[in-house]
């Protein structure tokens, strides 16, 4: 049974992502006032971990063998990693193959979750904590700034750059981004264990989230007040690239605050239901989040590349210079509407989508 709260939150993340990407790539605008950036990815990563727990346990409840479940999970993880590489090559540039974007990150996270799924919950949380703690150290060792001199991740095609990019310096390095799916997985496990006492647990999660959010804010404030070599290295302010400790703490807190509220207000309130249209819209976007991700990139990037090539210029010549932020936003909204219609049509006629291809490739019996 789908959870409306998860569909709604995932839809929020997807919509934010589409809006931000359209505005950033078409107009180069990164304003946070009317278009907050850096909030969708943590929420989406958290929900991916949470949903993976639900998916895994639904298969266990259907008495699927553990080996079969692992086989499917590993295939899905590898599929996403492969798709991530292919996406980088085909949608961006070949030199961006190993930029360790969100698809490769989610694929690797799936594999990590699969490795750790039999461990007790505290192992997942310690791993998350370890990744959080070690991330600034790894960035120091790898000299993170040297990879981001032009404002984007620019590695060499070497093994060491590939390795460091995956772990510490890429767009979505495992350290510390793996915190979110691990925490999502742990929260799902915790809520299942305390099914009889879910409201109280949700309250505590929200309290924790609020605390982390405040802690993140305090860390930002403290970092500005007391600059020091350590602070400079560890506390870099609220930045997504690199994902600073303040950013990770704050966004994790925000996610842990928003998720319990959504769960209590939407799922657990017996007399309150989302309007059916909204429910269906959110469910469509949530079910087809991968398709939306791929499509929106293709829709707003390929025309730029093709026009640039047609003009005989560099492929990325028009990047961030196509239009104004308002038009870009409008285009994003048009895309979202069209995408919603397209995906509903695909559902109705059974047309292939990225998700159906994933299921066909990864979930077919041997």
């Amino acid at each position: 049974m789908r959870r409306s709260s998860i569909d709604l939150l995932r839809t929020v993340a997807i919509v934010l992502m589409v809006l931000v990407h359209f505005v950033e790539n078409l107009a180069g605008q990164q304003s946070r006032v009317w278009l907050p950036t850096g909030l969708a990815a943590p929420l989406f990563a958290f929900l991916s971990g949470f949903s993976h727990w639900l998916w895994r346990h639904s298969l266990e409840d259907r008495h699927m063998s553990p080996s079969e479940i692992t086989r499917r999970a590993v295939r899905r993880g590898l599929f996403l990693i492969g798709l991530g590489f292919a996406f980088n090559v085909l949608v961006w540039m070949p030199e961006d193959t190993f930029n360790w974007d969100v698809l490769t990150f989610l694929g690797i996270s799936l594999l990590i979750l699969e490795c750790l799924h039999e461990q007790p919950r505290f192992v997942w949380l310690i791993t998350a904590g370890g990744a959080f703690v070690i991330a600034p150290l790894l960035r120091q060792l790898a000299d993170y700034d040297s990879y981001w001199t032009q404002g984007w991740f620019d590695p060499d095609l070497t093994l060491s750059d590939g390795f460091t990019g995956c772990l510490a310096t890429g767009y979505f390095p495992l350290c510390p981004w793996v915190v979110f799916p691990l925490v999502g997985y742990s929260v799902a496990d915790l809520l299942a264990e305390r099914r009889d006492n879910e409201n109280s647990t949700l309250n505590r999660l929200a309290l924790l989230g609020a605390g982390l959010l405040v802690a993140g804010g305090l860390a930002v404030w403290w970092g500005t007040l007391h600059p020091s070599p350590v602070a400079n290295a560890m506390l870099r302010g609220w930045t997504m690239f690199p994902p600073s400790p303040e950013y990770i703490t704050g966004t994790l807190g925000l996610v842990l605050l928003v998720f319990p509220v959504a769960r209590r207000v939407i799922d657990l309130a017996p007399d309150r239901r989302l309007p059916a249209g909204l429910t269906r819209t959110c469910a469509t976007f949530s079910r087809h989040s991968l398709s939306v991700y791929l499509l929106h990139h293709v829709v707003h990037l390929w025309p730029m590349w093709l026009i640039s090539l047609a003009r005989g210029n560099d492929t990325t010549d028009l990047w961030q210079q196509v239009t104004s932020p308002g038009v870009a936003l409008l285009l994003a909204l048009v895309f979202l509407v069209a995408c919603q219609w397209l995906l509903r049509w695909a559902d109705d006629v059974g047309a292939p989508t990225a998700e159906s291809v994933l299921r066909w490739l990864c979930d077919s019996p041997p």
Partner: protein, 284 residues
Amino acid sequence: MTAALPPVPWASSQTQRLLFQPGVTANPAGGTILCEVATHPPCRLVVADAATSAPGGTDPPQTSLELLTAANDGVPEAEALQALRNWAEQGRPHPDPAIQTLSLHGVQVVWGPERVGVAAPGARLPLVLPTVLEFVCLEQALSGLERRLARSWPQLEEDSPLAFDFDHRADRRRGDLARRFQEVLGLRGRWAQLQPPLHRPLVYPPTLASQVGERLRERARLPERWESLGSQIDVFQNVYEQCAQRAHDWRLAWKGHTLEILIILLLLGQTLLLVFELFAGREA
């Protein structure tokens, strides 16, 4: 509701509502105690008057019974037995379980889940009644245990895989498993306490009361049901003992496992840092 008496010329008769209290320390109903079985806490049959509490609603729940005692002087045996049977079957929503009857040396007894009828010559009724009440008490106590156990089978089937394999997911159910194990031990204790009255040696030379009591126990198959209940409790106890053993072993292993995991994570972190240093050094 008290069933209407059959049109039989009993010399005298009386109907009472009784409450069976399966193991209560006090007498919450406050009625006269007619019979008490020496279990701990004792099982009782008490007379329920208008002021006493309704059946159920207590923990454990009480069972209500109707008792008919009649003097059958001059009444043919077949007629008396049929009259008692009619009374016992009147107004029953379901024919199951069937009403049981016994006729022995001028004493007729019928019993079912909610009604017990005793007819005997007037002079012998006071001799026989305590035996019948004791039988009712024992039968109700045994039936109560049987019902409790019957309700627990689905949960046992759900828990039985944990008797073989226990993992961290199962650890969440440790508290529930411990509670169920305690309940099973409690059941076994109650079961064991029923043995002395159920397996009382046969009395010789027999009295009418001893013969009626022995025959009632035999007819209701109380000793066999007690044995069967013991075998079932053995199954429960075995499963939950195994679960407890697995949980204990798992906890012990988990403590060692925790340390290993921490060491592994620390080593992983150290390795990562070393590799990063190596790569960073090469880059430099």
